[in-house]
């Protein structure tokens, strides 16, 4: 039994500490996926909380047929879809505009140590975020599953219910589009 399987076993029996360790293992993947979808840190935090709460609720029925990584990615996808649906219904914001004051594009890191390099990095990151946001949704979703959840093409195909060939094609096209956008902005 792997360390992760042990953690799952403990968490399933109600061990809060084990569950918290699972959160720590996956919070970055979940949060960044949510951030790319919500484009807003507050919303990304909310989505991430929902993902882990759902994980807690569903752990008792988690049998390990799929990996925990895949299960968490699936929950993230579900929560993000719910979020978008809810947001669209409320019509309070859009995927491209955000006026909450906590936008993803804001460079809020400490840039005092090497301001020039930090600025350049922030510009690149900002560019790639905008580029990802401009991708068609299916391609963006596939890329995010690959990039942040580090899933194999087989796992992504299973989550998105598409063929591995489609996964391969989406990732390839997505990367190509990102590359072209970054090139046009002189970031490559």
């Amino acid at each position: 039994m792997t360390g992760e399987e042990m953690l799952v076993k403990r968490a399933k029996s109600g061990d809060e500490q084990a569950f918290e360790e699972i959160i720590k293992l996956y919070e970055k993947a979940v949060y960044n996926s949510a951030l790319y979808i919500a484009k807003n840190r507050d919303d990304a935090l909310d989505i991430s909380q929902d993902v882990f709460l759902k994980l807690w609720r569903t752990l008792p029925s988690f049998r390990g047929d799929a990996s925990l990584k895949t299960w968490i990615a699936t929950l993230t996808r579900t929560c993000a879809i719910d979020y978008i649906r809810s947001r669209n219904q409320k019509q309070t914001s859009s995927l491209t505009d955000d006026d909450s004051g906590n936008e993803v594009d804001v460079a809020d890191e400490d840039i005092s140590s090497n301001p020039e390099k930090a600025f350049e990095r922030e510009e690149k990151i900002s560019a790639v975020r905008k580029a990802v946001a401009s991708l068609p949704e299916p391609i963006r979703e596939t890329l995010i599953l690959r990039e942040f959840h580090n899933l194999s093409y087989t796992e992504i195909a299973s989550i998105q219910k598409i063929s591995e060939g489609t996964v391969k094609s989406r990732i390839s096209r997505g990367r190509e589009q990102l590359k072209e956008i970054l090139k046009s902005g002189n970031f490559l």
Binding site: K28, Y31, S48, E147, F148
Partner: protein
């Protein structure tokens, strides 16, 4: 020939970066990149794109795990209450979820047996925001489900023949009749109550309530219906020939 190779390599580059190629394809790409500067340039750009994408991730906020754990502990507390509730209701039979009528009259709420009602209210209180620590929990006591029991649910003396066990599954249900399998393996059928307005019906694994589809589950003496956006739980109140499903909590998932 080289152009054809370039074409093939460019198609494979992304999967090559992800380590998703067969060994022979990967070797083909690797060898080609060594001799083709044009394809190598595209490869380098894709790698750099990938690097920038990866670098765009940021650490999750510190408060994330703490916030989740707070809610987890709140849910555990609620579950403990629910188990207590179930134990208290342990001998009460559950029959049918036939029709749900939103009743304004609180009198119906009082039909329940005394002890049971107290626990039900207690349960409702514990779904309140202040107790759970979550804004997603609230209590709504207006809704009740009125259950009418088929005569077969009574023994020859006209007494409630005792659902000593809980419902195992709802076998079939429509707007007129529902069949239930209990954990003792017995099957019961319940007729609809007359004059109902908002029915719950069941089609296989799906419950339909107020025009919306829900998944449902019965655990102990609580019926849960969930559509992924909200979960509504109903506690069970029994009064002679009628059983009421009293809404005891609702969560926005």
């Amino acid at each position: 020939m080289e152009n054809r190779d370039c074409e093939k390599v460019l198609e494979l580059l992304s999967a090559y970066i992800d380590g998703e190629l067969s060994e022979s394809d990967a070797e083909f790409v690797r060898a080609h990149l060594e001799i083709c500067p044009d394809c190598k340039k595209v490869y380098d750009e894709l790698k750099e794109t990938e690097n920038i994408f990866a670098a765009s991730s940021e650490d999750a906020p510190l408060e994330l795990s703490a916030a989740v754990m707070t809610r987890v502990r709140a849910e555990k507390a609620i579950s403990a209450k629910r188990r207590k509730f179930t134990r208290i209701f342990g001998g009460i039979a559950v029959a049918a979820v036939i029709s749900l009528t939103v009743l304004a009259s609180p009198a119906i709420l009082l039909i329940a047996s005394g002890g049971a009602k107290a626990e039900c209210d207690d349960m409702a209180v514990n779904f309140a925001p202040s107790a759970s620590g979550s804004d997603n929990f609230y209590s709504d006591q207006r809704a009740e489900t009125e259950i009418a029991l088929d005569d077969r649910l009574y023994d020859e003396n006209g007494k409630y023949d005792g659902f000593k066990d809980v419902i195992e599954s709802i076998e079939e249900s429509n707007t007129e009749q529902s069949s239930f399998i209990l954990t003792d393996g017995k099957k019961y059928t319940a007729n609809l109550a007359d004059g109902t307005s908002t029915p719950i019906s069941f089609e296989g694994d799906i419950a339909i309530f107020d025009g919306e589809k829900y998944e449902y589950k019965i655990s102990g003496d609580v019926l849960y219906i969930s559509n992924g956006e909200r979960t509504i739980s109903f506690g069970i109140i029994e009064d002679g020939k009628k059983i009421y499903f009293k809404e005891i909590g609702k969560t926005n998932d």
